[in-house]
């Protein structure tokens, strides 16, 4: 725990950074309606594959989302509007031992349908359904793990070359993230006038200083967005989302169980800087190993071995992300506009614009409902923030064009 409690003004600054990053995430993630639409669509796909007239009916297919759509950490690609929705089509009864044949079953089913034919595109391991404007849905066939004693949720998915099955556990992975995300960070309340930090009490973080979604999910989204920006012209070197998600979740779980924080921003910094601690290095081979938490012998960083540049770029990106997120609260050039520029460099122009606009709009809204006040140096602060203020801001309208 950090024993030097910061000034309440600094906590306000950090809270406003969190507010801006939260607005940015809201602008790049699927809306509630889009999540509902996606759910509606994959339910329909599931019914279509499983209905009695379907040749797949006897293999009892069920369709469910995996990955970022499942844990609700999806973000829009940096250039483009469409979200990728990864779906698993799990056959309760194994239709065929050859992954190619199983994929063909799905492909044929979509291809022979008037409804889906024009939307279906065959990919190596899955069938992609293109819903114009909103989503791509990738339907990946899989079968239950053939060792019955293996834990629930384990499945076999086609490997890259499609000549064999390999174990996977998308539900287990989602549970790993969701379990950690459900743990709330502990909040150290900064008592400016107490002599000893030990006297500070520990409580959940107040809503006004928090993200509007679980902090872990937001941190994952922020990092993925930063990655997309960083690798925009170097896409091949971009680290996999599953690696970022895994490392962030480990770091988050450790931070919330071991430490208390004065702000969500401080938590975010510790999580981001701590994530590389969960990359294991094999002592003999010096290979990096990022274990799939739900399938520990699977190495998410497998490719780093054959292509060491991937590791090099991962660490270069991680250093940049850590430095830039840290610098947001330590800007030397003053001005909200300069915070905007810093956000733009890290996350792109549109995202930064949303972030700054949201902060400005929220100040306006708070004044409208009588919740803003000013300090003797002119700082506009939420009246309930715990900063000494001299006047409440009355409602008003800026005049003029």
């Amino acid at each position: 725990m950090n024993n030097i409690l910061t000034r309440p003004e600094d906590r306000l600054g950090k809270s406003q950074i969190v507010q801006m990053l939260d607005a940015m995430c809201q602008a790049i993630e699927p809306t509630e309606t889009q999540y509902n639409d996606a759910a509606e669509r994959y339910k329909t796909i599931g019914e279509f594959l499983a209905e009695e007239s379907s040749p797949l009916h006897c293999f009892e297919p069920i369709v469910y989302p995996q990955g970022s759509m499942r844990i609700r950490a999806a973000i829009r690609p940096a250039h483009g509007k469409e979200f990728d929705v990864d779906l698993v089509c799990e056959f309760k009864k194994m239709p065929h031992s050859d992954p190619k044949q199983v994929k063909k079953l799905i492909w044929d089913r979509f291809h022979n349908s008037d409804r889906y034919r024009h939307m279906a595109v065959e990919k190596n391991r899955c069938v992609e359904l293109q819903y114009v404007g909103d989503f791509h849905m990738d339907v990946m066939p899989c079968v239950p793990h053939q060792l019955s004693w293996i834990k629930e949720g384990s499945i076999w998915v086609p490997d890259k070359k499609l000549d064999d099955w390999k174990p996977s556990n998308p539900l287990g992975f989602a549970r790993f993230v969701e379990t950690a995300a459900a743990k709330s960070p502990k909040h150290v309340i900064a008592l400016a006038n107490t002599i000893e930090a030990k006297a500070a009490s520990v409580e959940p973080l107040p809503a006004e200083q928090s993200f509007t979604k679980p902090a872990l999910i937001r941190i994952i989204q922020i990092l993925k967005r930063h990655r997309d920006q960083f690798f925009q012209n170097n896409h091949d070197m971009s680290p996999l989302s599953v690696i970022i998600t895994t490392l962030t979740t480990h770091a988050y779980a450790r931070s919330v169980s071991q430490n208390s924080f004065e702000s969500v921003y401080d938590l975010m910094l510790e999580v981001v800087s701590g994530m590389t601690g969960f990359i294991n290095v094999n002592q003999q081979t010096a290979h990096f190993f990022v274990a799939n938490p739900s399938q520990p012998d699977e190495n998410f960083a497998e490719k780093w071995h054959s292509n060491p540049d991937l590791a090099k770029w991962f660490f270069a990106w991680h250093r940049k992300a850590t430095t830039e997120i840290k610098a947001l609260a330590e800007q030397e050039t003053k001005g909200l506009d300069n915070i905007g520029t810093a956000l733009e460099n890290s996350f792109g122009a549109a995202a930064a614009n949303q972030a700054v606009r949201a902060l400005s709009a929220s100040v306006k809204k708070s004044t409208g409902i009588g919740k803003n006040a000013v300090t003797e140096t002119g700082l506009v602060v939420p009246a309930s923030f715990g900063i000494k203020t001299v006047a409440r801001n009355p409602h008003h309208n800026f005049h003029g064009s």
Binding site: K334, G335, I339, A352, R357, T377, H396, F398, H399
Partner: protein, 159 residues
């Protein structure tokens, strides 16, 4: 000819000594003085922890609207070629802080508790505007000249 009654309820005008005292109590680092019937106050205001420090001046003559300006830094320079929103087209670019026709401000109100907090907000939204190009602080758009509408049938003077 009979004096025309104002349509709004009468309010108690606070004298400028009272105004100055309140400004000095709330913003002890600011500086104010009274010259004849005029109150001049200036103070350094920083609207957010990320913000620049602005030297803001309020010029108030009883019976007129307070006139608020940013003395430093030069906001027009910060804005570059863009037209800064919510400024009066008068000397020294006074800030449009309230909607006079709705009587959001009258002389019974304390400048330190209205004009100054509003100026801080103006600066906050101004810095956001510098980056986004959008004014998200809200406000009223109006026909040109309306801001010069007098209170108590007297035209506000600027300097």
């Amino acid at each position: 000819m009979a004096h025309k009654r104002p349509k709004w309820p009468k309010h108690q005008t606070l004298n400028i000594a009272h105004q100055l005292n309140d400004l000095q109590c709330l913003y002890p680092k600011g500086e104010g003085r009274i010259a004849r019937d005029r109150l001049l106050w200036q103070g350094k205001l920083t609207p957010s922890t990320f913000s620049r420090e602005y030297l803001v001046q309020v010029n108030y003559q009883e019976g007129h609207f307070p006139v608020t300006r940013v003395l430093q830094p030069a906001i027009r320079e910060l804005a570059g070629k863009r037209k800064v929103p919510h400024l009066f087209r008068d000397a020294g670019d006074p800030l449009c802080l309230f909607y006079a026709p709705a009587r959001e401000w009258n002389s019974s109100m304390l400048i330190a508790r209205t004009i100054v907090p509003w100026a801080c907000e103006w600066l906050f939204h101004f810095e956001a505007w510098l980056f986004t190009g959008e004014w998200d602080g809200g406000g009223v758009h109006h026909e040109p000249g309306a801001e010069r509408k007098p209170i108590a049938n007297r035209s506000p003077s600027i300097d």
